[in-house]
């Protein structure tokens, strides 16, 4: 799952990024509201964690502009402002959730999962496709009664395809969602992961749409 973290404090951004990456989220960081708007308009993210007190454009303004541009990405506001008026303002501008600093990392992860689930119309953290069940919270995949061991990136590819079930995701989109900006990778990395997934879970689960990308029906 690819997350855009918008936080002006580099130390905090680094800490949150590390926490989330340890939980197998793919996190990209920007430190300004303008950069966030640019990134969100150009690339695909599953969720945006947005600080309110940003230099330049504030978090309130960022979420407002996003919603005006019909961008429906789930936004989790992260701020030191605890006044009810600030929370109400943030939610009214279009944010989906609000987390107060200092927070517990486990709570942040749970809120991210809940937001993504809600966005994709899922009732629980478990995504199913036939007899394959992906538990994003426990980070496990089972096929029938058998647990299937997946690498973190294989898990991410499968999770993204299941989150966008019914939609075709191009190789570039999948690369962005799984790797973000920070990693150098081979051009056929996604193909390799899909190959491994088919090998472990069966060929039927992921369809190749020739010349376009992959999808899970």
């Amino acid at each position: 799952m690819r997350i855009l973290l918008v936080e002006d404090d580099a130390l905090l951004a680094d800490g949150i990024k590390t926490s989330l990456m340890l939980a197998n989220f793919n996190v990209d960081v920007v430190h300004k509201g303008e950069h966030a708007l640019h990134a969100l308009s150009c690339e695909q993210f599953d969720l945006c964690i947005l600080d309110i007190g940003l230099p330049g454009i504030s978090g309130f303004e960022v979420v407002n502009q996003l919603r005006q541009a019909q961008n429906t990405i789930p936004v989790l506001m992260l701020t030191a402002r605890d006044q009810i008026t600030d929370r109400v303002k943030g939610l009214d501008q279009g944010a989906d959730d609000y987390l107060l600093k200092p927070f517990d990392v486990e709570e942040l992860k749970a809120r991210i999962r809940a937001l993504v689930r809600r966005t994709h119309g899922e009732g629980s953290s478990k995504l199913e496709c036939g007899d394959v069940v992906v538990d994003a919270q426990a980070f496990t995949v089972t096929k029938g009664d058998q647990e299937i061991k997946l690498s973190p990136k294989e898990f991410s590819v499968l999770h993204e395809l299941l989150l966008h079930r019914g939609r075709v995701l191009s190789k570039d989109q999948l690369t962005e969602l799984v790797y973000g900006w920070s990693e150098d990778l081979d051009s056929n990395a996604i193909e390799v992961h899909v190959h491994h997934l088919r090998k472990k879970l069966g060929n039927a689960i992921i369809q190749t749409i020739r010349g376009v990308g992959y999808k899970v029906s």
Binding site: L12, G15, I16, S19, P102, D104, V105
Partner: protein, 467 residues
């Protein structure tokens, strides 16, 4: 310099005393002046009477073309007596008329006639003019004159006691209106002083009636010129206090707010270490560091609450709040955050327990009381919360405390037990809320029955409404 405890009383006493003394002095002076004037009038009356009698006698002698002795044969003594009086006078006269006496002597010292036998009859003492005569029985004021044509003497007299009584009465009569005016004057002075000092009383009332946090300006134009400067200075003071208070509040709020980010950084990185570290020793150190961070976070939160209490009080209007549902929510919240589920809270209540109060402040109060009890209660113990229409009582078992410790607990940054993770602000916040809402907060030792034979010590915090 003497101390004035009440301007109104001082002015009343001073003005009334001055007026009374001035009135007394003027009354004494007036009394004497009036007496002298009346004496002069009486003397003039005596002289006038003597002259009239002398004139009547002189005319009589001339009319009869004779000497004094010869003319006496033709003189009608009865008519004289009737005219100048000896007998009782009728209602047309004056009650003091009969006190006037006269004698007529011839030049050789023979008393021709008199209208009163009381008047001393000594020819050798006759001297023209006024004299005071006292024969041991009565005192008289006399006026004597001798007729220049025929040499007879006329003496008119008035009793001194009558004169004194009359002069006293007349002098007193002149003072009576002034005497009657005194209570009216005192009443008017008191009314005027009260009226004049009313603006001062209004300022006192305006200051007394406002809450201790009300630093709104007073309308200086509503007061007399003499007080406008004072009111202006008071308003300046209010502004300065308000600004200082706002600065302090903002500083605390800003400081607490700005602390949130560094605290988040520390917490996130420590949690990351906890997750990735393979060393149990490192994990143990990190857990302890996290406890410290949690304590700091709690303190920051309490500081923020403290800095906002005043503003909340101004913004929030008291309304009926059901304490029991609120307490249930807080208890559930506190128990959910409990790391060890070894303490539990029992709520005893009467219905919903409606209190007319500010909801936010009541929530903070209950939360802090229960959070405090949670922190300091013995392990595996029960915390009791009793709710009624008049009181909130929270009890937790713990070691008994000295009076000094009990007092310390209500002070800022003083923690009951240094091994606990409190901020030392919880109960002082409760106390401030109580002060703002006119409640009394008391903390005391209490013992409860642990079982049939053993008692267990503990501490009770009681909040009661003040009347």
């Amino acid at each position: 310099m003497f101390h004035i405890s009440s301007i109104k009383r001082f002015l009343l006493v001073a003005v009334i005393s001055l007026i009374t003394v001035a009135w007394l002095l003027s009354a004494v002076f007036n009394f004497h002046a009036s007496r002298e004037q009346v004496e002069e009038l009486f003397d003039a009356e005596l002289a006038q009477m003597s002259r009239i009698l002398q004139s009547v006698m002189n005319n009589h002698i001339r009319a009869n073309s004779s000497t004094f002795s010869a003319s006496l044969n033709y003189l009608d003594k009865d008519l004289l007596l009737e005219t100048f009086g000896h007998q009782e006078f009728n209602e047309l006269g004056h009650k003091y008329e009969k006190k006037l006496a006269f004698q007529v002597w011839d030049a050789k010292g023979k008393l021709f006639f008199e209208n009163s036998s009381d008047l001393p009859k000594r020819f050798e003492t006759l001297r023209a003019g006024y004299a005071d005569v006292n024969d041991g029985k009565k005192a008289w004021r006399t006026f004597t004159l001798q007729d220049p044509d025929f040499g007879f003497w006329v003496k008119s007299a008035q009793r001194e006691d009558v004169r004194t009584e009359l002069t006293g009465q007349i002098a007193l009569n002149t003072m009576l209106p002034n005497l009657l005016m005194i209570p009216v004057l005192i009443f008017l002075i008191a009314w005027l002083i009260r009226k004049g000092l009313a603006p001062l009383a209004q300022i006192s009332q305006a200051l007394k009636g406002r809450g201790y946090q009300n630093l709104d300006e007073i309308n200086a134009q509503a007061y007399p010129v003499e007080l406008r400067y004072l009111v202006g200075e008071l308003n300046d003071l209010f502004t300065r206090v308000s600004e200082a208070s706002e600065r302090e509040r903002r500083f605390t709020a800003d400081a607490a707010h700005e602390l949130r980010t560094p605290l988040s950084i520390s917490k996130v990185h420590l949690q990351n270490i906890l997750q990735v570290s393979q060393s149990e020793q490192v994990k143990e150190f990190v857990r302890k560091a996290l406890i410290g961070i949690e304590r700091l976070i709690h303190m920051v939160q309490q500081l923020l609450i403290l800095s906002r209490l005043d503003a909340q009080q101004e913004q929030e209007v008291p309304r009926n709040v059901a304490l029991y549902p609120m307490a249930k929510e807080i208890v559930a919240e506190l128990q959910a955050h409990q790391t060890k589920a070894d303490k539990h809270i029992v709520i005893r209540h009467q219905d919903d327990c409606l209190w007319l109060t500010r909801e936010t402040q009541m929530r903070i109060l209950l939360r802090n009381l229960l959070d405090n009890a949670f922190r300091y209660a013995n392990e595996h113990s029960q915390i009791e919360l009793e709710l009624s229409e008049d009181a909130i009582v929270v009890f937790n078992t713990c070691e008994p405390m000295s009076e000094q410790q009990l007092a310390w607990n209500l002070e800022r940054f003083k923690r009951g037990n240094s091994t606990q993770q409190g901020s030392g602000l919880g109960l002082s916040i409760c106390q401030q809320i109580c002060k703002q809402n006119n409640y009394t907060m008391v903390m005391k030792n209490r013992r409860v029955m642990k079982n049939r034979s053993d008692e267990e010590p503990g501490v009770e915090v009681q909040i009661t409404k003040n009347n």
